[in-house]
Symmetry: D2
Subunit: 298 residues, 4 copies
């Protein structure tokens, strides 16, 4: 099929290469012209304006957005609306908030334009070699496009999840689970690290990656990480986050679902960004007040 | 090699079959004679007393215990001490607490008998087809026995972890991680279940098992579970536990390691065993006291 | 002063009696005419329409809302706008979300009408005998009204907290702390209850209310609750919540503040409303899948 | 009554002064002779050996230990056993683990010596001016000594809690609650601190100390702390702990009581003692592995 691809970052670039390898005709656009040049080397056509992108596609255009979630998505959609015609389809493959996707779907539906929200998992390597995609939207819109998603995904790694928003909802929950699994693995390795035993973390992660109950891709990545830096001496333990974990918790709170592990995985990320805490100061001051316990001065 | 195997339950039985398939000569013992008969059908020799087990083995006997953790392990070791001679080796393949293994190692060392603590992961199917084993003990004791562990494990699924106790310590932490990962996955599916979308849980689990960041054996098992019972209608959400999660948390507390996710995974298991809570009653009563908020009567 | 009071529920009714006792002239309104009659017995004037309420007040009217948070507040404000004139002041004494108060302040400011957001603590008895009030808004608006708030509050129990929204923000955080303190006390009593000792909970709560580090009003209320029902046998442990705890957590997440105790206090409330959990079912099913552990059937 | 007092630290010294003020005849001992001299100024007799302490008391001696919990308590008890006779009573007023108190009670009972475990709350000021005491032990042993405990406690601040160990158990749970309440208050103030509003923390704490639902001694101490250092700029947020919070959690785990708030209060204390975490490094490394997310280098 013909696909217009907007956003050639780490994920987008690899998805384009993946699509091309599966025989699709891809026109790639990015505001960064270096990336546009690079994508040509992968066998895609490269363009430097959205107008050119649009014009390069046959009718019933398929426009895949792979750009940062948030207002930029609305902005690009509005720019595209200058050209788009009924029958065109926008796919948002980024990590948009599912409520935004429901809204955008309704907004474009009024104009006769299809909208699919596609959660994309599997990391950068998956984008290139076989991703995991979970896609929501109207059945008649997705019907002719199933092939795109199944082509770029590993076998059984693509699912049409249901109505508009359900794709990004599924990806949001996926990331909530991911936060919890990562924190679980990390806590385990800290227990090993503080233990009296002289563990070889890479060896443990490799062993656990083979035959254990907790084997899986994250454990394999843990092995990779320790292979590069046996005790992670070179890096700081700052755990940044980009939104989905927070959205999952907020959604769980809205739905009344108790998700303590997801909550704590997120909270410990926030805690990791603080060198010292006001909470700690208050507790230390209180211990001093009632019990005369020493406080550490700055 | 010749191996005496004590305990032919779900895990032990399959490990014996695994050992036999790899060319080892196994003598199996269990207090349940039906299991002794059954193990003969797998190509092992079956005996009904520990004395017979011991006598059936050549010198430098290897005695593998696969029995419930706790006092029973001490009891069986003491029964074996009636026959055992210096140079014999006891392997504890169960889920013993690592401090017990350190103690038993020292106890047997005094008598010239080797002791290896072997954590065994991979579930019942792994025990049969390729387990994951993490083994602690003295280097000279394990040296001639590496082959046993690597034979029953999948490739790269066996690790000599270090001094006595380190095998069971590693397994304990493995299970702590397992608790966290399971709770993460489960919370995610509850968010899906309470969501406005009509998800097919089996389909989601299958998709996440293929190409996603959170793919792994636990997600595959989640798929299996939903395949058998699409919404788990037939079962109750009682989350029992058998000790290792609690030990991991206790160990983390002793080592001063903050493990919130492991803590909450365990605490939610305990909570699941309660129909109502005294904590809840106190909070409900307090809300009534200060704000006149209604309480639900029994 | 003259005060128009809208909403004569448990809190409002007592605040009116409190105001009257302090010499204020109060006109009370409620949609429930029984409450309007009752408030007359407390020395207030009672009216059955907002129009009558408004007309009964001298210029620079002070209109105190004590009604359920949410859209009703906007609705009543809009109804009042049919009469209100520049120089009038609306006080929202309910548990409104602070962002709503900021919005309402701006909305009324355009019309020359003052708005104060007043968080009110101390429960029903405090409303009558001496509350704790935390009030945000413009300095020139609150200046002539300090007396109202200090009159109805216990000594030092009134604070002007700053700009619009800060009063309800402070109350929101107060309630977040309250959730954590209640859960702390309740967990403690559950540990006592499950202990091998035959504790008299009322006696323990009374002793802790006198001289201990954890003494305070909540512990006194705990004593009261156990005095009425020694082991809380008559009630269920359903922990309902009305919003502020959730808002505090959401605000903390927005601000990047790690609040694990507030998070779990809320999450355990949600958990208490569930008889069984889907999370628990998934974990139970997984334990069965890998380890053959028994599940409890429904 | 005549009381021999062993340990004249912050708590012990004040308790001696408290006892003397209530007309008791106190003989004080400490290894630090400066404290022995100082206690004489309070009206107590001071001695520099345990033998002298013992000899200075009439028969049916009452020996109050106020020393650090742990092996020292056993050591001092064994030193006293050189002189003690049947009918003597040892009171352990420190923060001993309740299981130790049960053991010590049984150990001394064999020798005809009474043992009472006395949990003491109220901080240093309470020790002087009116403490809160919770005491376990045999009824016949405590019967003649009720007056001591009620004298040093505020009204209704003394409770005989039941069998040996129950006093320290009650104090342990008290401290578990204390951890949770302190963390709740502290989290609340951190939300205030990170908010867009320019709060005066001392003023907020004072207001909340008067009439609010969350009023109590800890809030008053919070006010004191902010009075001394308006934003706690001078101190670090290191939250040390001395055992009881950990014991409460361990006890809760043993009893199967879900105590998430107590668990998290303790875990955040441990976290506060770490500048960076291995957990954080593992999560950061994993994010880099699958998503190419930047890590912060050391």
């Amino acid at each position: 099929m013909h696909i217009g691809f907007i956003g050639l970052g780490k994920m987008g670039f690899n998805l384009v290469a993946n699509l091309v390898r599966h025989g699709h005709t891809v026109v790639g656009y990015d505001i960064n012209e270096t990336l546009v040049e690079a994508v040509k080397a992968e066998g895609a056509q490269g363009v430097t304006t959205l107008q050119d992108l649009y014009n390069a596609l046959p009718e019933k255009r398929v426009l895949w957005l792979m750009i940062p979630a948030g207002p930029l998505v609305d902005k690009v959609i509005d720019q595209l609306l200058a050209f788009m015609q009924p029958g065109d389809v926008v796919i948002d493959g980024g990590n948009s908030r599912y409520q935004d996707s429901i809204r955008r779907h309704a907004y474009l539906l009024e104009k006769g334009i299809g909208f699919l929200d596609c959660g994309t998992s599997g990391g950068i390597s998956g984008a290139l070699n076989g991703a995991c995609t979970m896609v929501g939207g109207d059945p008649d819109v997705i019907e002719p496009l199933h092939g795109i998603f199944s082509d770029i995904s590993v076998e059984n790694g693509y699912l049409y999840t249901g109505p508009a928003g359900s794709g990004h909802f599924t990806k949001m929950v996926h990331n909530g689970i991911e936060y919890g699994m990562m924190q679980s693995i990390a806590e385990g390795f800290e227990v090993l690290e503080k233990s009296p035993f002289p563990f070889d973390f890479e060896a443990v992660a490799r062993m656990w990656s083979n035959g254990s109950v907790i084997r899986g891709w994250l454990m394999e990545l843990t092995e990779n990480a320790f292979q590069k830096d046996a005790r992670l001496d070179a890096i700081k333990g700052k755990m940044f986050s980009s939104g989905e974990g927070k959205w999952t918790l907020e959604t769980a709170l809205d739905l009344g679902v108790p998700t303590p592990v997801m909550a704590l995985s997120l909270i410990m990320r926030y805690r990791s960004l603080q060198d010292d805490t006001f909470t700690g100061k208050v507790v230390a001051a209180l211990r001093n007040e009632f019990g005369g316990h020493a406080v550490e001065k700055k």
